[in-house]
């Protein structure tokens, strides 16, 4: 019986991720191109929002991933903290810039949509503001990784930062709700609603969400592999210097 922890072995991880990577990337491209094309060109315009509604195919998946990437970093950090698997710490490191970019995409597409719809590029709405704060957390996390030279110390310090940051991200979210009533509409998607959006928009949207998720998976695998190789290279160089 093979267990998940086998992938804590970098060699095993490299072999499996190397085999998976072309498939995941191929599927990601397929879903993204298919979903975006379907969404942009084959769906009707909304009767009130016109064609601006189509930004949903970028905005919603990016926003969903922006939060879930942080969750994934939290889980990976906890695994590093508890079981000291280096691959896990490197995966958290690899995910952070991807998450930051997703957050930036969500903020940017939201601004582009908000300009014609709300009449403003930016509104200090709790949802928008909490995403901005999430973006700042990503930046701080990335900067922390860059600033510490010892890789193990960097992994430990960023783990503590990620744990504390998660708590404060949640507190900020509720503090912002207290601070300002929002302009942003309610959640477009939720698990318990019968039908979230009309089916014509729903299927391409789900395809795009799957595409963003696969894109994230591919990028994280790719970046984690790069980190592992970089670390091997550093170890080899250190060996050569001492030999």
């Amino acid at each position: 019986m093979s267990s998940l922890w086998e992938y804590a072995n970098p060699r095993k991880f490299m072999a499996t991720s190397g085999a998976l990577l072309p498939w995941v990337s191929g599927l990601a491209v397929l879903c993204l191109v298919g979903g975006l094309f379907w969404g942009f060109f084959l769906t009707p315009d909304d009767f009130r929002q016109g064609s601006t509604v189509k930004i949903i195919y970028l905005h919603v998946p990016a926003a969903i991933m922006a939060i879930n990437v942080w969750l994934m970093m939290l889980v990976a950090s906890l695994i590093w903290l508890i079981r000291r698997h280096h691959v896990s710490a490197l995966a958290a490191k690899a995910a952070a810039p991807v998450g930051a970019v997703f957050t930036a995409i969500a903020l940017f597409t939201g601004a582009v949509w908000g300009q014609p719809m709300w009449g403003t590029w930016w509104e200090w709405d709790p949802r928008l503001t909490s995403f901005l704060i999430l973006f700042l957390f990503y930046l701080g996390y990335i900067a922390m990784w860059e600033a510490v030279e010892n890789p193990d110390a960097a992994a430990d310090l960023t783990t503590v930062l990620c744990l504390v940051g998660s708590v404060f991200a949640v507190i900020s979210r509720y503090a912002l709700l207290f601070w300002n009533q929002g302009l942003h509409q309610g959640a477009s998607l939720s698990m318990d609603a019968e039908q979230n959006v009309a089916d014509v928009f729903w299927y391409p949207l789900v395809t795009c969400i799957a595409g963003f998720f696969l894109l994230f998976l591919a990028l994280v695998l790719y970046r984690t592999r790069t980190e592992i190789r970089a670390r091997r290279l550093r170890a080899l160089l250190a060996q050569e210097r001492t030999a």
Binding site: F137, G140, M144, A153, L161, V164, G165, F168, A175, F178
Partner: protein, 218 residues
Amino acid sequence: MIALILRDLRLAFRAGGGFGLALAFFLIVVVLVPFGVGPETGRLSGIAPGILWLGALLACLLSLDRVFQLDWEDGSLELLATSALPLETLAFAKAIAHWLTTGLPLVVAAPLLGVMLNLPGPAYPWLAASLAVGTPGLSAIGTFGAALTVGIKRGGLLLSLLVLPLYVPSLIFGAMTATRAAEALDPLPPLALLAGLSLAAAAAMPFAAAGALRVNLR
């Protein structure tokens, strides 16, 4: 622990720069604001609670890199870590010392600076109360940030990037307490939330700070 707090206080008083600096910075921020937004008293009194809270927050941030840095450089931090005192207590004592040298003077000075910004009358006690309740939380959170960045050369900028997002909830509740008092609304709910936040930070942050210190002292 008390000896450690007293030592930090003595160092702050005698070494100069540490104690008065934050207060002077607070004063300068508040004085600069009217130059930026214009001298109309109506506008100033509207934004006064926010400005005073923001100034206090920045002044608090400015003195954070001194919390562990000096002890780190001369090696006394390692000495303290090997002593019988747990690192958690050390972090807690450092936070208290930081609050006594930075937060408390700000609480006292804020009403005076409120006069300069034409803060509405009923807001004074609530502004002082919100700062008195909120700044200990800022010190506790900031001590964690200082512990994270203690081993990094020129970590001051990184420290601000890490700590400022963590200050968002405190700033919201603190400034809202004073604003609501100024607008004759009930200021108690945000003050209660702020107090809860500070208590939680004071209880939990020393553990996070000690964890970071352990990594940095390894």
